[in-house]
């Protein structure tokens, strides 16, 4: 059985709602985290991301200036001077399949639909720490491998050529988002 030493991890929480930031801070501190930095909009979060170099980013979607999706896209710049690989957990009230696909395609690592639960948050953090996925770089995508399983029934186009399928057997982001926590 494995546990996470949260006191060895540095978190950046980005949410424009002060109440949600307080809840996240409370949960993370209860898990054992000591370093939790907070930003109330995407622009401040990006600055803090460069300055504090967090291990894990937890971001809301709907925020002023630029939103969580844009923040993820800005972090996932393969040629940036900063770390483009940090896990991003999107915590949001958006709960439609279309939104999850958009988040995935922006390079979000895990998706957690509100209402928040301690278990749901813990499981997402455990997932990104214990089961990191390789990154894929194509001409129009850079982010964690979006393939989480294989299916013999797949009949769509093969979008990757020139190598064996690199697949990790994990639940899809949609299935994980459905977990009640």
């Amino acid at each position: 059985m494995f546990r996470i030493d949260f006191n060895k991890l540095r978190f950046l929480v980005c949410d424009d709602n002060p109440h949600m930031r307080r809840i996240l801070r409370t949960l993370l501190h209860s898990f054992g985290a000591r370093e939790v930095y907070e930003a109330e909009d995407g622009a401040t979060a990006l600055e803090m991301y460069s300055h504090y170099v967090p291990d894990i980013v937890i971001a809301d979607w709907a925020m002023p200036i630029f939103d969580g999706l844009e923040l993820a896209q800005m972090i996932r710049q393969p040629d940036s001077k900063g770390n483009p690989y940090a896990p991003i957990i999107m915590l949001t009230g958006h709960s439609e399949k279309r939104r999850i696909t958009m988040a995935r395609d922006a390079g979000v690592t895990e998706f957690l639909a509100k209402p928040i639960s301690a278990k749901g948050l813990y499981l997402r953090i455990m997932s990104v720490v214990a089961h990191p996925r390789p990154f894929i770089k194509t001409k129009n995508y850079f982010g964690p491998d979006r393939r989480r399983n294989t299916t013999v029934a797949y009949i769509g186009p093969e979008r990757r050529n020139g190598g064996e399928a690199e697949v990790l057997q994990q639940p899809s982001l949609l299935d994980k988002a459905r977990v009640t926590g």
């Binding site: 307080r22 209860s30 009230g93």
Partner: protein, 193 residues
């Protein structure tokens, strides 16, 4: 003097049209093996901390309602533009996401219905003002009269009826926009209460 160790580099595999990059696992130092019977339960500890915080939830919910009401007042004065619509949407969206955590799930459901109107109505200025006003009033009432109407099941009934009226309206005004119709009818993946 010892030299600083160079940071580990990502391992890159190049293929015809993509690269597979395996970054160094910088978080593995935070994982430790524990014995099964270790008593410490971080999730239970966090749930207890959240319960300790719950005394503040009603005050927080009221301030969320005030923010929603203020944003709505601005739209009544200025009309809908990117900024006023954005602020009203974010206020409603925050209630949608937070209300269940704060103990007001019916307010969250009414806020979700309002979010759907703000997101899918093709012309917000053409939305019947009463439709938006009733959502705002319902959310306020559910929070204000929480102890009485929530227990009687009125809050859930109110939210459900608002949602039905809003969905009927959105179905009609989006009849020529199949992509929106599909989104309106798509099921939510949000956890159930």
């Amino acid at each position: 003097m010892a030299k600083n160790k160079a940071p580990a580099q990502p391992k890159v595999q190049a293929f015809a049209d993509h690269h597979v990059i395996t970054p160094p696992n910088t978080l593995k130092h935070a994982i430790r093996r524990v014995i099964d019977r270790e008593l410490d339960d971080p999730v239970a500890r966090a749930e207890q901390a959240l319960a300790n915080l719950s005394g503040e939830f009603k005050t927080w919910m009221r301030s969320e309602c005030d923010r929603l009401s203020a944003a709505h007042t601005v739209t009544l004065k200025k009309g809908f533009d990117t900024q006023t619509r954005g602020e009203l949407f974010r206020a409603a969206h925050d209630i949608k996401g937070d209300a269940s955590t704060f103990g007001f799930p019916a307010a969250g459901a009414a806020a979700e219905s309002l979010c759907r109107i703000l997101e899918h109505a093709p012309d917000l200025d053409a939305v019947p003002p009463d439709l938006i006003q009733h959502h705002i009033d319902a959310i306020q009432a559910i929070v204000r009269e929480h102890n009485t109407i929530e227990k009687a099941g009125v809050a859930n009934e109110l939210s459900a009826r608002l949602r039905a009226v809003a969905d009927d309206y959105l179905t009609v005004v989006n009849r020529d926009r199949p992509d929106h119709l599909e989104m309106i009818s798509a099921p939510s993946i949000a956890p159930k209460e």
